[in-house]
């Protein structure tokens, strides 16, 4: 076989059908007659199940049918002639439906001629309009309607009731029908009546559902494994087929010898059982076939179905070569769209490059260094498709013959295209294209800013890397999947990449409070990758905003808000007011990055983001930033204020309790008084906690924890309050903690004590330390939260699978309509206005901004 990449065969459609006994024989390469597998020399027996006419699984042997060797021969089907017909378990239902509603004697459908014609046109209409599934339902209704009649409208004979005893025994007036009789009846059903049962395809006969010849799958789909001891271990299917052939032979012999009917019946039943379990070993009423050790055999149905089955495991998902996986670690100094690849990997992963007149010397160098020296090459592929390994021995020879049209599989080098992925791949940003940067070490390195779309952290996460092997694939990856092209999420039209942690803190501090000398400013900018310092004002001292403005393009205008609501104004590339914090630099928020992207495109945004990140980190390293226990200290006034708030809240809660006992508490509508009390107490306590969070945020003395929370880099007011002031009420399922012992949560408390502390209110802060009972309450809610996540993940995962399966083939057609695979229109205009979410700001065209800009223009002229 020679491979010609320019000729593609395209499969146009796949049709499904039943095989007739004749077709089975015609397709088969061999007839199976003996249950033996190998002769004494270990060579496959002719007519045995491992017959080499069915394909080969041993290296060295050749297939007798096609002459192919291992991996060349796809395998061929065989067949066995069954001594007695046997019903196919998977079609029992259909056989039953057919026989139930046809006449016992004349085999016509038990519907009057005229009606039948009416139904037929109805069925065709349903099939055309609503598809086959709807037709199937209609047929079911039809059958249910017409079986009750006990007289055949054609021959007017009385009918007996047919009963199906699962899994596959049919009875008529207490007499069992043998598959021979079943088959005979099915044979007699005329073709025109079959159409009423949905057998619309020409040439499909129902009697084929009762097997007379059985197909034997090729050896290649049930290979045997040779164990270390030299023993052969056969596949489950082979075992099952062995049983079938053995019983079949016995049945033949007994019939020929004229054995008593009882023995034949028994063998027949056994054959039926084996064939049934060959197709499906999980039939409810049958004991599953087992290995000698008691392990259940995996037969055809089990091979196909479920997540580990053929369809979902091997067909809808495939394994790839040219891929790598290892632990990830951060490197803020590489570009956003780069990935650091260890040398060892780079020397194993290759990129094929075709030699032409113009790159001869370039490619020769790789071959010259061989496979052990970086950057080298591992293989060459000759124009005839043969592959050669480059080793020290073969190198000289290869170098001599190397010429145009040879393909060199060279090591990965800086700038190569790679796809980078982290599971679970929940959205398209979970797999993006990065440029390779080969680095020492053994981990993948990535810029911490792209962690967000991958949802990655560095606590041991592993990620995968794939190297596209064709020019087409590389082009598509680079144009459609490169990190910077994915910056704006199609989910909401906001940036999914932004500065994180240190970079936000750094820029916040820079734009808020730092005054720098010219020297310091140049240092900062230079470290963050700015070489052109002409934009830096020539002043002795300058503030952080001026430094930051150097990164901005001169024509960039932006008006927005920062986290605390102050206006951020950038005009003509100068940051005039406002601090840069999470609201504008962070991911999934703010419009500064979104505007920048719109105005300057992916590449410059990526560059800009990289510089801003580096600037932030540089500022932080120069200034110094750390956090310690001391940063959680509250100022004495603040501490007092919070204490009094908590005290007041608790008093209020106790007042509620008192009023409840005094009978003065009025129930809320739709609530009992007890419930009302709970609601009131929770309200009061939560209010107090939130208030204390806000107060601790408003402290005048700065500290690292506050800076981080204010800039949005990490932490929120609640975190701060819990660490330094008060942990607050612990809630289980939206209520205070009330379970545990009779009338109390813990034996530590009095019975029927409903005061805040007895029901999970934690007075201490994490810094001051929790009392034992408080810790226990904390553990309770912690456990509840863990349970919640553990239960939620599979549920939402299944929802997602269903959604994506249902909607995967929807696309926007050339006429702007959204259609599914069969061309049915789902929407006339995508989202009613044809707008692409990722090309808009939050799904809208900013009309207002355009108008405002136009107004300003008027003022100028």
């Amino acid at each position: 076989m020679t491979y010609n990449p320019s000729v593609h065969k395209k499969i146009d459609s796949i049709s499904f059908n039943l095989f007739s006994p004749k077709q089975i024989v015609g397709l088969a390469a061999a007839k199976m007659v003996t249950p033996e597998l190998y002769d004494r020399e270990g060579y496959p027996v002719d007519g045995g199940l491992m017959d080499i006419r069915l394909g080969v699984i041993d290296p060295g042997l050749r297939c007798k049918t096609c002459g192919g060797k291992l991996k060349e021969c796809p395998g061929h089907f065989g067949y066995i002639e069954l001594a007695r017909p046997v019903i196919h378990v998977k079609f029992v239902r259909q056989v039953y439906d057919l026989l139930k509603s046809t006449c016992k004697y004349c085999s016509r459908i038990r519907v009057q001629e005229q009606q039948a014609r009416k139904y037929l046109s109805l069925l065709t209409a349903t099939a055309e309009e609503d598809g086959l599934e709807a037709r199937r339902k209609r047929i079911k209704e039809l059958i249910a309607k017409h079986t009750s009649k006990d007289k055949c409208p054609h021959c007017e004979k009385k009918q007996d009731k047919l009963k199906l005893e699962k899994p596959y025994n049919f009875y008529e007036s207490e007499v069992r029908l043998s598959p021979i009789e079943l088959r005979a009846r099915l044979e007699k059903i005329p073709q025109e009546d079959l159409e009423l049962f949905g057998f619309t395809a020409p040439g499909i006969r129902p009697e084929w559902m009762v097997l007379t010849n059985m197909m034997i799958p090729p050896v290649t789909m049930r290979p045997s494994i040779t164990l270390e001891s030299g023993e052969r271990s056969e596949d489950d299917l082979t075992h099952k087929l062995g049983d079938i052939v053995r019983i079949n032979q016995r049945l033949f012999e007994n019939i020929n010898a004229g054995a008593p009917e009882v023995i034949i019946e028994d063998l027949w039943d056994l054959l039926q059982y084996h064939i049934a379990t060959f197709f499906d070993n999980d039939i409810p009423q049958l004991p599953p076939a087992r290995h000698r050790g008691g392990q259940v055999l995996k037969t055809l149905t089990e091979r196909i179905k479920s997540k580990e089955g053929r369809i979902r495991h091997n067909l809808a998902g495939k394994r790839t070569d040219f891929s790598a996986r290892t632990v990830i670690s951060p490197d803020p100094l590489i570009q956003l769209n780069e990935v650091g690849v260890p040398f060892r990997m780079a020397m194993n992963l290759t990129v094929p490059e075709r030699m032409t007149e113009w790159n001869k010397d370039y490619l020769r160098k790789f071959v010259e260094s061989g496979s052990k020296k970086y950057p080298g090459a591992n293989y060459i592929i000759k124009p005839d498709g043969r592959r050669k390994t480059i080793t020290d021995e073969t190198k000289q020879e290869i170098l001599e013959e190397l010429n145009v049209d040879y393909i060199v599989e060279r090591h990965l080098i800086d700038g190569d295209i790679a796809l980078f992925n982290r599971q679970p791949s929940l959205h398209r940003m979970s797999m993006m294209c990065h440029r390779v940067k080969v680095l020492p070490g053994r981990t993948f390195r990535l810029n911490p800013a792209v962690c967000f779309p991958y949802n990655a952290d560095f606590d041991g996460d592993e990620m995968n890397l794939h190297i596209p092997q064709t020019e087409e694939a590389r082009a598509e990856a680079r144009i459609l999947m490169l990190v910077e092209t994915q910056l704006i999420s199609p989910r909401h039209g906001l940036s999914v990449v932004g500065c994180i942690h240190d970079a936000i803190t750094g820029n916040y501090l820079l734009t808020k409070e730092l005054i720098l000398t010219h020297e310091e400013a140049s240092d900062l900018l230079y470290t963050s990758g700015v070489n052109d310092l002409t934009a830096l004002p020539q002043k002795e001292k300058m503030d952080g905003r001026e430094v930051f403005s150097v990164l901005l393009p001169d024509d960039f205008n932006f008006i927005g808000k920062d986290k605390s609501g102050n206006e951020v104004r950038i005009s003509n590339g100068q940051l005039k007011s406002g601090f840069l914090d999470k609201a504008n630099l962070g991911q999934e928020s703010g419009l500064m990055l979104r505007n920048f992207y719109e105005q300057y495109g992916p590449e410059r945004t990526q560059e800009f983001l990289g510089r801003v990140s580096k600037l932030g980190i540089a500022v932080l390293t120069r200034r110094g930033f750390s956090i310690g226990l001391g940063d959680l200290d509250l100022m004495p006034e603040t501490s007092e204020e919070i204490k009094s708030i908590i005290r007041k809240a608790e008093e209020e809660a106790l007042r509620w309790i008192d009023s409840y006992y005094a009978g003065k508490l009025e129930a809320l509508p739709g609530r009992t008084r007890e419930e009302t009390l709970e609601v009131r107490i929770i309200e009061t306590l939560n209010k107090a906690r939130n208030k204390s969070g806000d107060i601790s945020m408003k402290q005048t003395r700065e500290n690292s924890a506050l800076i981080m929370a204010r800039s949005g880099a990490r932490g929120n007011p609640l975190n701060i309050a819990q660490m330094s002031a008060i942990v607050g009420q612990q809630a289980l399922r939206g209520k205070r903690i009330e379970r545990g012992f009779k009338g109390r949560t813990l034996p530590y408390f009095q019975k029927n004590d409903v005061s805040p502390s007895a029901r999970g209110f934690i007075h201490n802060s994490f810094k001051s330390g929790l009392a034992p009972y408080e810790f226990f309450f904390g553990a309770m809610t912690g456990r509840d939260a863990l349970m919640d996540t553990a239960l939620r993940t599979p549920k939402s995962g299944y929802l997602y699978r269903r959604l994506s399966n249902a909607m995967q083939d929807l696309k926007v057609d050339y006429d702007g309509t959204v259609r599914d695979a069969s061309g049915r229109i789902v929407q006339f205009a995508y989202g009613e206005d044809n707008l692409d979410v990722s090309k808009t700001k939050s799904g809208m065209i900013d009309v207002k901004m355009v108008v405002e800009l136009a107004k300003e223009e008027r003022e100028e002229t």
Binding site: S13, N17, K90, P490, L668, G670, G734, M807, A821
Partner: protein, 373 residues
């Protein structure tokens, strides 16, 4: 391009926005703005071949991991239980027939929307069973009678009398002689003495006789929503509520999508799916563009009835055997396909993945036509 043409090419919402903000502009300026907006719109248009379905599925599926599992949450101050979060989203997309917490929001017309009227209305529609008024059941085996004592005061509060109840019961249960007095109704058994059991059965039946209100409205709660008073009801009965003259039928809704589909039709059901799903998403603080929810709703409603995103619903409508088989119950689909001699046209995604061919989406969509000599 003429301005009118441009305007026509823009979506309605953008044109409205433009008229609102740009009304004060001079003609030339307006023209300029229009041109710019037209340009912006053209560049923001979705590309042909974009696999919008998968993008929507991702956009909803990815953040759904962050939703809470909490079944009941309190809507507003302290009202009835409402299913929210992930369970509700699953309920909506499954198109579950029996939803866990059916609810109605009933708005009233202007003379009826004062506080007192709303409260009175709420009491009127609440489904009230006979058992709520009964204080005692007394059997007399010897006389073969059942005496039902009623709480007359409570009845009065609801604007009913014992007589009303008696006539109501009479219409519903025949075969008993019924006498009513001030505070009680007496049922005398008229059949054979052996069938005294009937009398016991009667007690059970009596309990669940609807005395008043609308079927299905289990709980009512008048609340203030912004400036208007509305009635929140648990349990739904859209048809009868909409028929009432006090009700503002333009704003009143239920959260039962199948009911909306039945009463108001498929377009209303589609909008209901969007509203319900989007409400949950917003309540969870997630940011998902409404277009994605719209697409899911459209997929669920294209066939003319509301189909869930399940193997019995949307997925079973697919034309491809392999696509159906790759979802759930593969064997069933393969068997049926074989019997009917189905042909898989390989027009969608999974089938082509299975046989290693480019999928007909995005860059896999366009083909080249060449002239063969």
């Amino acid at each position: 391009m003429k301005p009118e043409e441009m305007e026509r090419a823009l979506p309605q919402s953008v044109v409205e926005e433009l008229k609102r903000h740009g009304g004060s502009l001079s003609k030339e300026k307006f023209q300029k703005v229009l041109e710019r907006i037209y340009e912006m719109y053209q560049s923001a248009r979705i590309n042909a071949g974009e696999s919008v379905g998968l993008v929507s599925a991702e956009s909803i599926g990815e953040p759904s991991t962050q939703m809470t599992l909490n079944t009941f949450h309190f809507a507003g101050v302290a009202e009835m239980n409402v299913t929210t979060g992930l369970p509700r989203i699953i309920e909506i997309f499954d198109a579950t027939k029996e939803i866990k917490t059916p609810m109605m929001e009933i708005f009233l017309n202007s003379p009826h929307d004062t506080m007192e009227n709303v409260i009175a209305f709420a009491a009127k529609i609440k489904e009230t069973m006979l058992k709520e008024f009964v204080t005692e059941y007394a059997f007399n085996i010897f006389e073969q009678t059942l005496r039902v004592k009623l709480n007359a005061a409570l009845l009065q509060e609801h604007g009913l009398s014992v007589k009303d109840i008696a006539t109501l019961v009479k219409a519903k249960h025949k075969g008993f002689s019924i006498h009513s007095s001030e505070e009680e109704i007496t049922f005398a058994h008229t059949g054979k003495p052996e069938e005294i059991k009937e009398l016991y059965n009667l007690k059970g039946k009596l309990q669940d006789i609807k005395v008043k209100g609308l079927k299905g409205i289990k709980q009512v709660l008048p609340v203030k929503r912004e400036d208007t008073y509305i009635v929140l009801a648990s349990g739904t009965n859209l048809k009868e509520i909409l028929e009432m003259k006090e009700v503002d039928s333009t704003r009143t809704t239920t959260n039962d999508i199948h009911e909306i589909s039945k009463v108001l039709g498929i377009e209303a059901a589609r909008q209901a799916v969007i509203n319900e799903a989007y409400r949950v998403i917003e309540a969870q603080g997630l940011n998902i563009d409404i277009r994605h929810v719209m697409l899911v709703a459209d997929v669920m409603c294209t066939v003319g009835s509301v189909k869930g995103i399940t193997r019995y619903g949307v997925v079973s409508e697919k034309a491809s055997v392999l696509a159906r088989a790759s979802f759930e119950t593969p064997i069933k689909h393969l068997i049926n396909a074989a019997l009917e001699g189905e042909v898989d046209p390989l027009a969608s995604v999974v089938e082509n993945v299975m046989i290693n061919q480019p999928v007909p989406l995005g860059t896999g969509l366009p083909g080249l036509v060449t002239k063969m000599k």
